[in-house]
């Protein structure tokens, strides 16, 4: 069964930016990467241990006072593995929208139900777009740095995407109104 797991590369990638704890990696997944990737502690911590066994990261005890804390760093070997993967073409770009599924089968609930789904989606998009715009604004001050430049590209991708979603929402609602009144 093939290697479909990406978490190791995600964690190596984060550590290529700077050493950090597992907890911090989770936060990055929930903020910077949240638009296009995710992951839970249940997959982060075991993967981190696996990476250490494979010599791709090193642990360093950074507990202060009584608070447990493990700082992870990427090794040279880890960097090589990461680079190899980064150079390979991306294999899977996948979108899974329940909203579209419900729209596709929407005949069963009628245009009013469909419209409600679109309006909920619209609200969510506005929220996401707002967050991404803030990210972009902040990032703008750090564009001297290559890491931030790459980050910026993905943020711009998100902004473009959500803007087009919102346009679609508008048009879709107009279409539905037309269809309803016929």
């Amino acid at each position: 069964m093939a290697n479909t797991k990406k978490m190791d590369f995600v964690l190596l990638g984060l550590l290529s930016h700077e050493p950090m704890t597992g907890y911090e990696m989770k936060k990055r997944l929930d903020t910077s990467l949240r638009f296009f990737w995710g992951g839970s502690y249940g997959s982060i911590y075991p993967t981190l241990n696996q990476l250490e066994r494979e010599g791709k990261v090193t642990k360093e005890n950074a507990s202060s006072n009584g608070r447990e804390k493990i700082l992870y760093s990427i090794t040279d070997h880890g960097k090589i593995i990461l680079k190899e993967w980064l150079k390979e073409p991306a294999k899977k770009d996948e979108l899974r929208y329940e909203t579209l599924l419900k729209l596709f089968f929407g005949k069963e609930i009628g245009f009013n139900g469909t419209k409600e789904h679109i309006e909920r989606f619209e609200e969510k998009c506005r929220g996401e777009l707002h967050i991404l715009n803030m990210f972009a604004e902040n990032l703008f001050h750090y564009l001297g740095d290559d890491t931030h430049k790459h980050y910026y590209l993905t943020v711009q991708f998100g902004i473009k995407t959500y803007e087009s979603y919102l346009e679609w929402c508008k048009e879709a609602k107009i279409l539905i109104e037309e269809w309803k009144n016929k």
Copy 2:
């Protein structure tokens, strides 16, 4: 552990359009739904049997000559279950793009590597957009029918999305050229 499985609703939804075989459902997943949903035989056939045990679909032997063939139909109970789910707000709209992951960590391979990823992505988008445009053209002749109207909405969503992806590719490549020459 919660019910995260959606395949039952997908199959019920397809059968709400018309009775069909498991093989045909797989084809729909690979064509009409391919932009926003997927699934393999390994999850289709077992789910179909489960749905029958639950009284949500019925089987009908439609073998002709020696070729095995099972036609599935949705039951009244199945329709009720489907409608209930359709009325609920969508819970998860998820995008997982390896391309964006490789871009995010792109510092490790430099702007040339990043640019290659974008160009590959661009080509893929052009292909997808071409397919979606053909779908839209064909669908245009069937817009009298509500099922096709809902299908049309999702196709328009895909078209908008890929068009914005292509715009982003163009802009991202310009940015990268600027960054490279500095």
